[in-house]
Symmetry: C2
Subunit: 400 residues, 2 copies
Amino acid sequence: MKIRTPRAPVRVPGFMFAGVACGIKASGRRDVALIASNPPAVAAAAFTRNRVVAAPVIVAREHARRGRARAILVSSGNANACTGAPGIATVRAACAETARLLGVGAREVLPCATGKIGVQVPRARLLAGVRAACGALSPSAFWRAVEGISTTDAFLKGGSRQLDIGGRRVTIAAMAKGAGMIAPDMATLLAFVCTDARIGAVPLRRALHAALAQSFNALTVDGDTSTNDTVIALANGLAGHAPLRPGSGEHRRFTAALSELLDELGRLILLDGEGATRCVEVVVSGARSVADARRVARAIAGSLLVKAAFHGGDPNWGRSLCAAGFARAALDPERCRVSIGRVPVARGGRGCGNETAAARVMRDSEFRVTVDLGLGRGTARLRTTDLSPAYVRFNSAYST
Amino acid sequence: MKIRTPRAPVRVPGFMFAGVACGIKASGRRDVALIASNPPAVAAAAFTRNRVVAAPVIVAREHARRGRARAILVSSGNANACTGAPGIATVRAACAETARLLGVGAREVLPCATGKIGVQVPRARLLAGVRAACGALSPSAFWRAVEGISTTDAFLKGGSRQLDIGGRRVTIAAMAKGAGMIAPDMATLLAFVCTDARIGAVPLRRALHAALAQSFNALTVDGDTSTNDTVIALANGLAGHAPLRPGSGEHRRFTAALSELLDELGRLILLDGEGATRCVEVVVSGARSVADARRVARAIAGSLLVKAAFHGGDPNWGRSLCAAGFARAALDPERCRVSIGRVPVARGGRGCGNETAAARVMRDSEFRVTVDLGLGRGTARLRTTDLSPAYVRFNSAYST
């Protein structure tokens, strides 16, 4: 499932990009990326909910609190996680160097990292990378920056959307790296959004969180939450329309475009990855509540047995019902229906004998499993992958 | 890791056993087991917490409520789960036939099943099996009954302990089947305890639940809770000592012996199984509470990435700390220590460079990972396996 995204040129007014190699990655590939906005941008961010967070997450949370930023600095190949005070000092030094060279404040630089846990970042190399990146900034270097944030990704993930707001053309571009099944603790999810929309910090945060709920927060590979996950959106307002107000039609359209873009990147993340051969959409409907629907979707999409059956193209609906049963949601087996694609496989908690047709649906690399609990109106949707022997082989390799 | 348990003869005064083949299993192996006690026994049981439960679980819960039983009837090869009203009718017919032949009440028979989900049990074959089992009952057929409850188990799991209570010799025997990594929805956990101890229903239930907390409820293979899990203890009092009172030293010794026996069976279940190459004990200490310690142990023992690293013998402590971080427990990375065997690998949330020694520990098929959170006195212990490519291959095979 190696899908190459077309690398159409991506430019966003007021944004410059760089991606350089400084020797953090043993492979010699680009390992420092820089995104800079002039004028200063409004910033919104979302971070991992793990209690063990990497040094750059600690610093970026602190810097992002102001709701304004000039640059995002990313290093890849080393997560700078579980590295204690020296790890934090390295992040601060890199932010200070970036700020000095760009002529901005250190707190206007949002740092991120991705890669191996528990190893100190070689500080001198990183600082050399920062200097090279500042010198290489260019409005046309979007894809070089994407290379700079990627680690074990099999292909680059980025794209853009344009929409018209009050007669002005607004661009939203986004890049992401990760993770899929490759090696989530070496290749955590990072995503960056650059837009010239004119929007305040609060409405930008609201749009970002709504878009995340529909995209990155609706996919699961192995249920592990990384130490480094970071999503940052920068909006510099150059499009010049009237500010986007929450609740307005324009804000809704902006949010929808952002959702669509991040959802597409999320899909690419799932399709990437050593071992993934299926991208499966798990849809739960008829739950007593949305919370119940989410619990059931998470139990099904997270079950090793369900995911192994996906890998084998086995329409083993009993495993999905069994997972629904231990999801701690209201459930009456007699009311459950399960479909694979459009083929009903279980009804009233019993099989309806369409396994051959369902197995045919599962030959595709993308399909949907629907579980209707028949109890209410709660629905949820989660994208997941299959579990393949290659995933285990890749993740059991000696890496520390 | 094919470990053969020595099949020493197991006899318990007043108990008779049978294991016969009736054609539910395509292989022609024994697929009906019967355990009968004369005199009638006090009964305690624990059932799966899944909301989707198999037909025999529904009936056994109803029958076990009385706290007394004469027989346990087990069929293997078909779980009789997700089979609706016809499935329940099959169970009731089998209990009635057993009761008729043994001259007891149908409610004194506790039914269990294990095997494939979603397929009706061939009723005529099962009833023929019941008749054959009733005719074959013998005090010395313990291991034939164990064969009758097993499915994809690579070896039989059973054993006994004796202890002295008030000058009388008391025997506790137990058998289990499952599950390990073989195919938990085809090979769920069943366990049966037979003892001649003299004990009431309430103290027996208390002993059983205490023992389960230390054994079967402290192991995880893939986090899926089956539709059929059932543990039943029968005590017929023939040992003739004074009744065991909760809180007494005798009750504590009885509970300890039962715990030890079930823990050993639990260990055998983990060691069995297509694909398992490691049995790992995850010990969490220093948590703010026992609940927190359990959450952290479960997150570590359930993480695909941690389990894949176990498979590769990779002392990747960062993955364990990362899993601890998303366990929703109180946690300060700076206070965490991680050891593999007796080798400290992380301290103060940072590596301490003993990876080579730790990798040596992980070459064994059984080792311990200890995570000390440094916050309080809460501890928990969980046994788990590694995740191997063979697990995925086995569980992705077309089986419906």
